[in-house]
């Protein structure tokens, strides 16, 4: 019984270590990669009930759809009203973390009236942030 528990513990430790190793294995990104929100500007006031375009700026790196494992590429994720997720895990996929796995480089969104934040984060072919992670400045927009 004790030996079984010990085996189980060893197994758990091994799994943790393995996932640690896997987590560190986000695809490498160029050191000079630069990700930014081309529009809207930080502090932009946007009319309510009207979709607006967000365009994704990326320099010194390329875009690839999810699943295409090519060097120095990734796909965009738009974080809405969210902080950066853990950078050693798959980027969540929900209404605050929008994936652009088809290689899109801009989108239209509509937000309810209020103050909102937008930030971009690149993910690799496995939706993992790169090493080093490539993310934009977080901007604030006001929907009125």
């Amino acid at each position: 019984m004790t030996s079984m528990l010990r085996q189980l513990a060893a197994c758990l430790v091994a799994m943790t270590l393995c996932s640690g190793i896997a987590a560190a294995a986000g695809a490498t990104a160029p050191d000079n990669a630069y990700l930014y929100i081309g529009w809207p500007n930080d502090g932009e006031v946007l009319p309510a009930n009207r979709p607006f375009r967000v365009w994704f700026g990326l320099r010194n790196m390329g875009v690839a759809p999810k699943g295409a494992a090519m060097p120095n590429t990734g796909h965009h994720h738009l974080l809405i009203d969210a902080d950066l997720p853990p950078l050693d895990q798959e980027i969540p996929s929900d209404r605050n973390h929008i994936h652009f796995g088809a290689g899109q480089t801009e989108t239209m969104i509509e937000l309810p009236p209020g103050t909102h934040t937008l930030q971009l984060l690149m993910g690799d072919h496995n939706h993992m942030p790169h090493n080093p992670p490539v993310y934009s400045r977080k901007i604030t927009v006001y929907v009125k």
């Binding site: 365009w55 700026g57 320099r59 390329g62 090519m70 088809a102 480089t105 801009e106």
Partner: protein, 144 residues
């Protein structure tokens, strides 16, 4: 007589194009390719600039990635659109962005007027069907 010959030639060209066009990668529906920056008529001092390449309703993928609704950017400088039924040429007037880049750095534009136009290529550097190209814009580099 001459008119008939011209008409026959035109039909030949049209049918020839259609026949080849059948083998080309279909373009994403409603996709639009455009130059986000610079605007038409921009004056670029020093001849150095980043060209921001935009696509709506479509995605970007590096060359060699054969997926639906994607392509990679080609920046045509001081040249007209090439034939759509052939591989896009690769030279200093036809810059390929096969790494999935969405911005192009130009460093050596001499003083004078220059034209810029985008043309998407598929995984084999062939234009899509129908071809996806931007308006052709003109920029002016003043004497250094």
């Amino acid at each position: 007589m001459l008119i008939r010959a011209v008409a026959a030639l035109a039909m030949l060209v049209v049918f020839g194009t259609l026949a080849v066009a059948g083998e080309r990668t279909p373009a994403p529906k409603d996709a639009k390719v455009y130059i986000i920056w610079p605007p038409d008529g921009a004056v670029i001092r020093g001849g150095k600039l980043w060209v921001r390449m935009g696509i709506r309703s479509g995605g970007v993928a590096p060359k060699g990635v054969d997926m639906a609704n994607v392509g990679h950017h080609h920046l045509l400088i001081d040249t007209d659109l090439p034939p759509f039924d052939q591989e896009i040429p690769s030279d200093r007037n036809h810059l390929h962005f096969g790494g999935g880049q969405t911005e192009a750095r130009l460093e050596d534009l001499p003083p004078g007027k220059h034209t810029l136009q985008l043309l998407m290529g598929d995984h084999q550097h062939m234009p899509h069907d129908p071809p996806l190209y931007s308006e052709k814009i003109t920029i002016i580099v003043p004497p250094y």
